[in-house]
Amino acid sequence: MDLLSILQVLLKGTLITAELAVISFAMAFVIAIPFSLGQVYGNIPIKIITTSYERIIRGVPLLVVMFIIFFGFPSIGIRFDPFTASVLSLGICSSAYQSQIFRGSLLSVPNGQIMAGQSLGMKGTQIFIHITLPQAIRFSIAPLTNEFTIVLKDTSFAYALGVTELLREGTYIISTTYEPLLIYLLCAAIYFIITFSTNSIVRRVEKRFAIHGFEFRGERA
C-alpha cells in the first residue's frame, strides 16, 4: 500500500471518528442542559435524581458502559448496532461531565448579581435569561471545548465494538503493511491535529467575544 491510499483509508476512519464525536457530544449537550438546570434550580427530589445521575455515570468507565449497552442490553431484548451503541455510550458519559460543567458555570455567576437583579424588580426567568445565562455561557466555553476533545479521543473506544473508526482502519492497514509504528503514529497525528485545531478555533472565537475583565484560561481579554 502506498502512502496516498493509506491516508485515504485513514481519512475514511477519521470521518467516522468525527461523526461519533460530534453526534455523541451533541446528544450529551442536549441531555446535560436540563440535568444541570435540575441540579441548580430543581426541588430536592429533582436535585437528588440529577446529581445521582451525574455521580453514577462519572464513576463508571466508558468501556463498561459500552459493553453493558452493546453486549448486555440484547439479553433484555434491546439491540443496537455498534455505531449507535458507541454514540449512546459516549453521549451518556459525556452528558454527566457536561452537566457538571454547566452546573459549575451557572453557580459561578455571583449571587450578588442575582440579588441586584431582584432588587430592580426582575423576575426569576428574566434574571436567568439576562444575567445568569449570558455569563454562564461564557464560563462554559473553555471547559466544553476541553470536553469535546476528550470525547473525540474517547471515540477510539468504539474500536472495541467493531466500529470502523480511525483506530480500526489503522489496524486494518497494519494487517497488510506490517508497519504498526508508522500507522499508529499517523493515527495519533490525526487525533492531535483535530483537537489542536478545535482548540485554536474556539480560542479565537472566545477572544472575539471576550469582555474586558472576563478571564479565559487565565488570560485577560
Binding site: 440579588m115 432588587s119 424588580g121 426582575m122 475583565g213
Partner: protein
Amino acid sequence: MKVLEVRNLKKRYDSNEIIKGISFEMEKGETVVVIGPSGTGKSTMLMCINRLIEPDEGKIFLNGEEITGSKHPEIFRQRIGMVFQEFNLFNHLTVLDNVRIGPIKVKKLPKDIATKVAIENLKKVGLESRMNAYPAQLSGGQKQRVGIARALAMEPQLILFDEPTSALDPELVGEVLEVIKKLAREGMTMLIVTHELGFARDVADRIIFMENGEIIEQGGPEILANPLKERTKQFLAKFREGR
C-alpha cells in the same frame, strides 16, 4: 403619608433571632442613617424591607401599601432601589446597559427612552463619559456610582444603601459620598447603613443606632455627639478609637 413604615419586624434563623421587633417610619425626602456594630442585623433589616430576605413577623408598608404578604414582591422592588456594598454590577454588560436594563426589562420602557433615562442618571453620578465601559474597567468608586445610577434609573420612591463605601479604598470614598449627599439635597428618600460617622452627621435627618437586632436609640444627628444611651456612647467611643 409615610414613604416607609416598618412595624415590629422580626427575623430569625433557626432559633437565632436576628431582628427582634424593629419599628420605624420614614417621611418623604428623609435621609435616615443606620449605625451599629457588626453582626447586628443591619443588612438583614435592609433586605427584609425589599424582601430579598423574607421577614418572619411584622408588617412593612411602602407609601401605605403593604409589602409584606404580597404575592409579588417584585412590584415593590421596582419602587425600592438598592445599593450594595460589593456593587454587584452585571459584569457582562456595559455601564449603559447596567443602568438601562431595569427600565427596559422591568418597566418595559422603549429602548430609546430607557437610554435617555440611563444617560441622565449617569450624568448625575458623573459617569456619562464611561457609559461604554465594562464594570471591570472601572475603579471601585466608579462602580459604586454606576450602582447608584442603576438604582436611580428605576425612579424609586426609596433607596436602600448597605455600606456603600465599605468596599472602597479610602481615597475613593469621597466621590461616592458626594453623590449620596447630592441626592439627599434633591429630596430623595434614603435609608443608609454606614460606618462613616462624619458623613452620617452631614447627611442624616435622623440616625438610628441598632444593636443585636434592636433599635437602641434614634434621633437627630446630634445624638452622634451626645448619645443618651450608654450602649450608644460605648459604640461611638470604641468606634472613634478604632479609627
